[in-house]
Amino acid sequence: MNESAGAALASDVQPAAGVGRRRLSFRAVFGITVLLCMGGAALLAPQIAPWDPGRQMLLKRLRPPAWEPRGLREHPLGTDHLGRDILSRILYGGRISLGVGLSAVTLSCLIGVTLGLLAGFHGGRIDALIMRVVDVFLAIPYILLAMGVVFALGPSLVNVILVMAVTRWVQFARIVRADVLSIREREFVSGARARGNRSMRLLFRHVLPNALTPIIVVVTLELAFMIIYESALSFLGLGVQPPTPTWGWMLSDGRNYIATAWWLATFPGLAIMLTVLAVNLLGDWLRDTLDPRLKL
């Protein structure tokens, strides 16, 4: 049974809830809009940020957002405990947070997909070996592993990306492998093989395109995870170090002011939340349209 037929039947089974099947999903719209905004803001940060994100103005510490009584118009979202402009830091911070997230996901994807393809395609010993490695990485709590590595190598932008990628590649490997295994059995692959295609070409021309669907979905879900992951590392003091602004650091720094200067934590928190929500919704929508039966 192919996918669209399955989808049609599924909705036939349901009582009509009064809301028909839409063509343009709320998720897709929301997801893409938010991401475009965030991405755009991040890219344009140097142009649109009103202040230098690292500039300390100690006399203007802890000013609330402009619409509050003590707020200042030149600091629309307020200032932090060192007098730095929050809006500018959010914009610049977005570059780092999103950049780190994207890099980590890309790296993670490369490692995971490669290993997953190898495992699924070659089977046998290689498969068993790779799967054991996957199991090892699954068994160690990722946070502890990340802490250990960052601690050993020192916290820096590169190390954080590396560590995040290295602890999460298994998500890709598993999905890709499962997909490859099922694809392997299909007619056209055996047919192609019979025609004498060499395995590498086979891998890339026939197998990979079909495995793309789950990979794309996992990429979006993992991106969301990476953004949260970065903030967790910042909380532990092991994230990208100051004075580089990142949403994670801002939230972590601001967490002591939740009761008194709520804007320090709320804005980076909202930025993280919206971005993660958008990415997740997008991923959900992608999965729904591409293959709702994906067990992700």
Binding site: G6, L9, A10, S11, V13, Q14, P15, A17, G18, V19, R22, S25, F26, R27, M131, R132, D135, V136, L138, A139, I140, P141, Y142, I143, L144, L145, M147, G148, V149, F151, A152, R174, R177, A178, S182, A224, I228, S231, A232, F235, G248, L251, S252, R255, I258, A259, A265, G269, I272, M273, L274, V276, L277, N280, L281, D284, P292, R293, K295, L296
Partner: protein, 309 residues
């Protein structure tokens, strides 16, 4: 069947071995702990003495084998920092973590499974969107932010729960919510897609066509089959939750293994870190082993047909 079980056991052992290698290697990458263990006034001679005493002068592979040999017999050595056997410390703190993780997972299941099922049944409707976004919010907030907000609202402002510490059932609620929120989205998603797949099956369509009500169809046929992938996910989520527990325990001053681990890593307390990771990994492997066996028991075809996900 027996062959399968044995194979799984062997795999588990190999995995644990792999874990031990990684943990051991990583720790030695973090550097020499001796300076940290001695007071400010320690002389070079004291440092050298301590190193010899702790066996840190031997070549790495010797240290590894020694570690492995003792670990297998349950001896993870004495924590550098606490001067108490590592295993004792774990024994004291592990129950707290298990309590928290189980509560978090249980809560997540109770909320997320119905949410996912409802979303599947009312696919693409407003209800679907609300449920999806609802559980996603939990995953979109960093755990420590959620935790602190929960404390602020439910402990300080409303006074319903204690702010921190482990003091009985009430004090478990806030940390469990903070921890479980993260898993809800994943579990809901799983329940939803599992449900969707089942709903599309022939026999469900048949039952519907034969006039069986949607309610009965849902609960009698679909749920039972959707439960199976859930069994796998519980095992995996456990690992994710252990990761989240590290932060949750720090925020809520919960006396569990996660907090111990953070402290141990920062103090380069080799024996304790090794012991904790070994314990957690073993637990994870065991739970997944059990889940796999349950899975197999439920559906013996799986052994031969499915590619292990």
């Amino acid at each position: 069947m027996v062959g399968y079980v044995l194979r799984r056991l062997l795999q588990s052992v190999l995995v644990l071995l792999g874990v031990s290698v990684i943990v051991f290697g990583l720790l030695h990458l973090t550097g020499d702990p001796t300076r940290l263990l001695l007071p400010l006034e320690a002389r070079e001679e004291d440092v050298r003495q301590l190193r010899a005493l702790l066996g840190l002068d031997d070549p790495l592979w010797v240290q590894y084998l020694r570690f492995l040999w003792r670990a297998v017999r349950g001896d993870f050595g004495v924590s550098f920092k606490h001067q108490v056997p590592a295993l004792t410390l774990i024994r004291q703190t592990l129950p707290a973590t298990l309590e928290l993780t189980a509560a978090g997972l249980g809560l997540a299941l109770v909320v997320a499974v119905p949410a996912g099922i409802v979303a599947a049944l009312r696919r693409n409707s407003l209800l679907d969107a609300v449920c999806s976004v609802g559980v996603l919010l939990g995953q979109a907030m960093p755990v420590y932010w959620l935790g602190l907000l929960l404390i602020l609202v439910f402990a300080v402002k409303l006074g319903w729960f204690p702010a921190a510490g482990r003091d009985g059932l009430l004090s478990l609620v806030l940390p469990a919510v903070a921890l479980g929120a993260f898993s809800m989205a994943r579990i809901a998603r799983m329940a939803r897609s599992g449900m969707l797949e089942v709903l599309a099956q022939d026999y469900v369509r048949t039952a519907r066509a034969a006039g069986v009500s949607a309610f009965v169809v849902t609960y009698k046929y679909a749920l039972k089959n959707a439960a199976i992938p859930l069994v796998t996910i519980v095992g995996l989520e456990f690992g994710v939750l252990l990761g989240g527990a590290v932060i949750t325990e720090t925020i809520f001053a919960w006396p569990g293994v996660g907090r111990l681990a953070v402290d141990a890593i920062f103090s380069r307390d080799y024996p304790l870190v090794q012991a904790i990771v070994a314990m957690l990994a073993t637990l994870f492997v065991l739970i997944n082993l059990v889940m796999d066996l349950v899975y197999t028991y439920l559906d013996p075809r799986i052994v031969f047909v499915r590619a292990k996900p």
